[in-house]
């Protein structure tokens, strides 16, 4: 699933027969097409991953290209919850409340290893992955992840939205380090 982002994106048939001057489609597909390009995001930013999030949002990597640049600082107006950084047990109720306040359809992206699994924090104070309390759509591993892999994650989410797929996905590295080592 996660390995074939681009392939899956091209096989998603949204419009049929447009060369004849008219088009037929399913209402759900149009709706999902609109949703995937207008993700209003709620950044729940808690730790060092925030630095990489800033890089992602700034012109060099430019998240705005994917229609996901508008942050909303009210969860009630947002579609996509970015959980960026370590979530402590003390903070977990806050995250849960924010998630509960979002209106459907809502999506969650776990940014970085800490949000995905707790990372190297294996102790009394850290929540071992936000999926313990909220469902996650896309995991982006990395400590912190490079902006490219977050963009991969965002594209993966858009693809999932277009296909109406609500299973979780993991961003894989663009280059498999094991393969690279074998070649060298």
């Amino acid at each position: 699933m996660s390995s074939s982002i681009s392939a899956a994106a091209t096989t998603t048939l949204v419009l049929e027969g447009s060369e004849q001057g008219f088009a037929t489609t399913r209402f759900e597909d149009v709706l999902n097409w609109a949703r995937k390009y207008s993700l209003f995001q709620y950044p729940f930013v808690t730790a060092c991953c925030a630095m990489e999030f800033m890089a992602l949002a700034s012109p060099r990597f430019d998240m705005a290209r994917f229609g996901a640049e508008a942050p909303r600082f009210s969860p009630r107006q947002s579609d996509l919850l970015w959980v960026v950084g370590t979530i402590s047990q003390r903070q977990a109720p806050v995250l849960k409340t924010v998630y509960d306040q979002m209106a459907d359809p809502k999506y969650v992206l776990a940014f970085g290893t800490c949000a995905s699994s707790g990372g190297f924090y294996d102790n009394y104070t850290t929540l071992a992955g936000i999926d313990k309390i909220v469902p996650v759509d896309v995991y982006v591993p990395g400590c912190p992840p490079r902006p490219e892999s977050v963009i991969d994650g965002l594209l993966m989410l858009q693809d999932k939205i277009a296909r109406g797929d609500r299973t979780a996905g993991v961003v894989k590295p663009r280059f498999d380090p094991v393969q690279l080592r074998r070649k060298a």
């Binding site: 996660s2 047990q89 995905s116 009394y124 999926d131 909220v134």
Partner: protein, 216 residues
């Protein structure tokens, strides 16, 4: 330089100064915990000491290595005289006045006087020390947890607190421990807590079977 301070302390408090040393150039005095506050006030007010700069206060848990178990460590400095001293007091979990507490070693507190009346800067340090080690500072104006949440039971930096024991405030989802593609059963991270006992036996480079941790 501040051996002068140690000498002054010994002169003023005699037998209440249990030991002194200046390992690595850090002058240290281990003092009688019952005179903790008194000695602190003396350090601040005495002309020759004039310790007006509170640096740090914390505790160390020597569970199973020393009696009494806790060592409260204070660092103070004199801005005017440019000297520095470290004060330690050894205390143990005290027989508490509350009978219910006695049964539960986890919540039993060790007690010592608060230094907030001497250096106001000690306030949050003592709260942290209380939160992490369960040292109760008598006379502290607002002794609450500062890092952990109120519902937390026990004191996490005590050596007998199980490091992996969490006390979640939100109930975990039932589906939280599913493996996710592309990960296999024993591949990658589980995106959930993997305890050592669950780790499969691994082959090392020479091909010997090594048991997974916690399997013996």
């Amino acid at each position: 330089m501040s051996t002068k301070v140690l000498a002054r302390l010994e002169q003023a408090f005699g037998a209440s100064i249990l030991e002194t040393h200046d390992q690595f150039g850090d002058d240290t005095a281990v003092v009688d915990p019952s005179r903790w506050l008194e000695i602190a006030r003396f350090l601040r007010d005495d002309e020759a000491c004039s310790m007006d700069h509170f640096i740090d206060l914390t505790a160390v848990d020597y569970l199973g290595r020393a009696e009494p178990r806790f060592e409260v460590v204070l660092h103070v400095r004199s801005i005017e005289k440019l000297h520095r001293v470290r004060l330690k007091a050894r205390i143990d979990v005290s027989a508490s006045d509350d009978a219910a507490d006695d049964a539960n070693a986890e919540t039993a507190l060790a007690r010592i006087d608060s230094l907030v009346s001497v250096w106001p800067g000690a306030n949050w340090f003592e709260r942290e020390c209380f939160d992490m080690f369960g040292v109760a500072f008598s006379g502290h104006p607002d002794l609450r947890r500062i890092l952990m949440y109120g519902e937390f039971v026990g004191h996490p930096l005590r050596k007998d607190y199980d490091a992996s024991k969490t006390q979640p405030l939100v109930e975990y989802r039932a589906a939280a421990n599913e493996k996710l593609p592309p990960f296999d059963q024993h591949e990658g991270m589980s995106f959930g807590r993997q305890t050592h006992a669950q780790r499969p036996a691994a082959r090392n480079l020479l091909g010997f079977e090594t048991p997974g941790l916690g399997e013996d």
